[in-house]
Symmetry: C2
Subunit: 453 residues, 2 copies
């Protein structure tokens, strides 16, 4: 299964790509995430990254993998799509990982020595990472701490709805507006609730623009319509994970979301980081999902032995902000929060299994978002809605106030923020660290807010 | 604009395809809907239907449209995709319509006389209509009568939420599970709320399976991310309309929908009819949207002169049911309801403009659903949730009871239905009829319920 630990996770493995051996890099030889690279003068190609280098998988496969029955699908074509990889079974993915590592490890011959004219590898700044065509995008709500924070703002006496600890709550998102890291995000325009004493809503630029720090997981093999995915098979249907910024217009959301859920408050943009970190690379960071005393047992279709002991993943998630003025003054982005994906109530396997439990067909490349990743402490809150809110339902005694009392963040320029201003850049990072293993990173997910139309 | 009436709507126009001249046909020469036809031994082709015949548009274009600058995009390739048509501007769509009518009208030479070996046309039963690749699917909630019925079941004192008459409420749907008419629909499995006195929900086959009679509208030209669509341009971005059955699992929906809206209750299947009836063909059936005394003015971005006078469309919508036993006994389907799309609170232009108002990018082929089409009378209710419910918020005095009191439908076999049973076939029809114009029909949208997995 993709979560097995094997010799490819050995922390002593090093590469002849020197930059991959830096203990701080996100991209050691143990990582090898997949992404789509636009190579100048070429088509978009399926690639992997190691250190500060990018490897063209089709070129490598054509030259080195001809003897591998498992990898024949990669050998023939001059370019390989993400969807070819999605179709791979676990054993094929493992073989690809093992073969790439065998080629890149320090005791192998560097590509340059094999054939100087054959371009297997690029410097990372020679290529542009681009997104892939996402068929459907679904966003979950899997952090019980996020749900409790948000619920406390609107229903102080009853923050968590009765279904929360039984149903991995999610909703269909908009696939067309999922954009690649680095693309500007235009502040949306929309309806806002009537003011006090007014009867007509207003229409104008969003005043409460927010980010949500999430992780996305990407479907590899799909399932046929009408055929559910057993939880024991769920991870076999996942290709890997990325960072997801689920930008949110809170004022639009508040006015529109009853009774059918968030719509235009979300669909103006969702930004993903380019690198798909494989489930295989994440294997050493698995851990048990957290449960509190009195939490109900999940229904049987959401339970497995592995999920109980290792369903969660220890991934640190950090959010940074740089205002336009900070960038002008050459100031570094400031860190707003640090959360951890291990605190989610529902696991990736549970979310995927639940999604397909009614027979809904998942398709290769589909994106599933985790929902905002928040913890119980103030500095782990994954959105400004929570971060600048004065309440704290996890304090002793709980400080549960309605949603109006907010303390702004102070920026080093003297600026203040309750929500995002035009020109603000939001930078999200995620990485895994654990004694005895190499750091596995996701890179960055970036987006600058531009003024409304 | 696509809603102008011109000589192509002349009811006296007849075709050399005799079956198109039947006054009862859905497909006279004035209709010419687009669809994707699977022709045995060929690829899927873009086609139109007239009477009981199907016309291969690429073949006709290559042979007849070489002199038309507007239609050059159709002339070169051996097959033409729906997306080629989506890119057309209004003038190109009008020219295609005029040219097809000129070829098919009774004073033109039938195709057979031009070239016997060149296959322009098929019998309708020689081809299989298939769906197209839908990028994103959005479902609206545009019938105030449906919203009032449903709201009355759960909130008798306050059926309609404060945002309803300002916001065209909608939510993102699941595109992957949109299926073509005729495909079986498997009863979904899912979580249902804990019973009285219980604390754990149950997981099993849906007990309250329902249909929703909707119309879908299909995006032609898209818009760039960040660029809204002005309401005066909205219809120019629509290719046409089809029938949509938004199958719904009411027990799953009730338990899962708070706070983020319907999810698995909808995503197991949505069925569309194959023919895309063009906005041009629907032009004679435009009418003013209905407003009651005291209804608020829409916000300016949702207003246009044309929309006020002609934004609605008079389309009759009928739902029929045949149980397995009825089919075994050779009994005709029974009509469950007849509604009309003209009673919707929001128009197609308002829904599309609202959807793009935050900058969300619409893409060619995207499907937008209207929401259940219900009127104020019991026989116009577009779902079983409403049809078997004993309440009637539009009666004098209103009969607004909670959602538990239901009178089952009686079938001619003696069977009864509050919701759908396995083996039930739901058949939806839609058509326009108005004095002085030919009937324009949508054909049928069919689906049989098969037992849960």
């Amino acid at each position: 299964m993709p979560y097995d630990i094997d010799e490819t996770h050995d922390p002593e493995l090093e590469s002849w790509v020197e930059s991959a051996n830096d203990r701080e890099t996100d991209f050691p030889i143990q990582n090898l995430p997949f992404f789509i690279a636009q190579i100048p003068g070429y088509d978009q190609v399926l690639a992997t990254r190691i250190g500060d280098r990018v490897v063209n998988i089709a070129k490598v496969a054509a030259h080195y993998f001809g003897d591998s029955p498992a990898l024949q699908d990669l050998v023939g074509p001059t370019s390989v799509a993400l969807y070819d990889l999605c179709a791979f079974m676990t054993e094929q993915r493992r073989e690809l990982r093992q073969r790439l590592i065998a080629l890149l490890r320090s005791d192998a011959a560097p590509f340059e020595e094999v054939d100087e004219d054959y371009k297997f590898m690029y410097q990372v700044d020679e290529v542009t990472p681009v997104g892939w065509d996402i068929g459907d995008y679904t966003d979950f709500y899997a952090s019980v701490h996020h749900a409790t924070n948000v619920g406390s703002m609107f229903r102080p006496d009853n923050p968590l709805l009765p279904n929360y600890k039984h149903v991995p709550i999610g909703y269909h998102g908009r696939a067309s507006s999922v954009v690649a890291s680095g693309m500007e995000v235009r502040r949306p325009v929309g309806q806002q609730a009537p003011g006090d004493g007014e009867t007509q809503p207003t229409f104008g630029p969003c005043k409460l623009l927010d980010y949500e720090m999430e992780l996305g997981f990407i479907v590899g093999r799909g399932n046929e319509l009408g055929e559910p995915i057993d939880i024991n098979d769920a991870e076999d249907h996942l290709l890997g994970m990325c960072i997801l910024n689920d930008w949110s217009a809170r004022d639009l959301q508040k006015w529109e979301y009853q009774p059918l859920g968030p719509f235009l408050a979300k669909s103006f943009a969702s930004t993903i980081s380019p690198y798909i970190v494989t489930m295989e690379a994440l294997a050493p960071f698995r851990c048990a999902p957290e449960r509190a005393a009195g939490d109900p047992e999940p229904l049987p279709y959401l339970q497995s032995e592995y999920n109980r002991s290792h369903g969660a993943i220890d991934i640190q998630c950090e959010v940074f902000l740089a205002s336009a003025k900070m960038r002008e003054q050459g100031l570094d982005p400031i860190k707003l929060s640090r959360g951890n994906f291990r605190h989610m109530y529902w696991t990736v396997a549970q979310m995927l299994t639940h999604h397909a439990s009614n027979g809904c067909n998942m398709q290769p490349g589909d994106l599933l978002g985790s929902g905002t990743i928040s913890g119980t402490t103030r500095d782990s809150r994954g959105s400004l809605l929570e971060l600048t809110w004065d309440g704290d339902p996890f304090a002793e005694p709980p400080v549960v106030v309605p949603g109006t009392s907010r303390t702004p963040l102070k920026l080093p320029t003297g600026e203040e923020r309750k929500f995002l201003a035009d020109g603000d850049e939001v930078i999200m990072k995620a990485f895994c660290q654990r004694d005895g293993y190499r750091r596995i990173g996701f890179g960055e997910c970036r987006g600058i807010v531009t003024p409304a139309h």
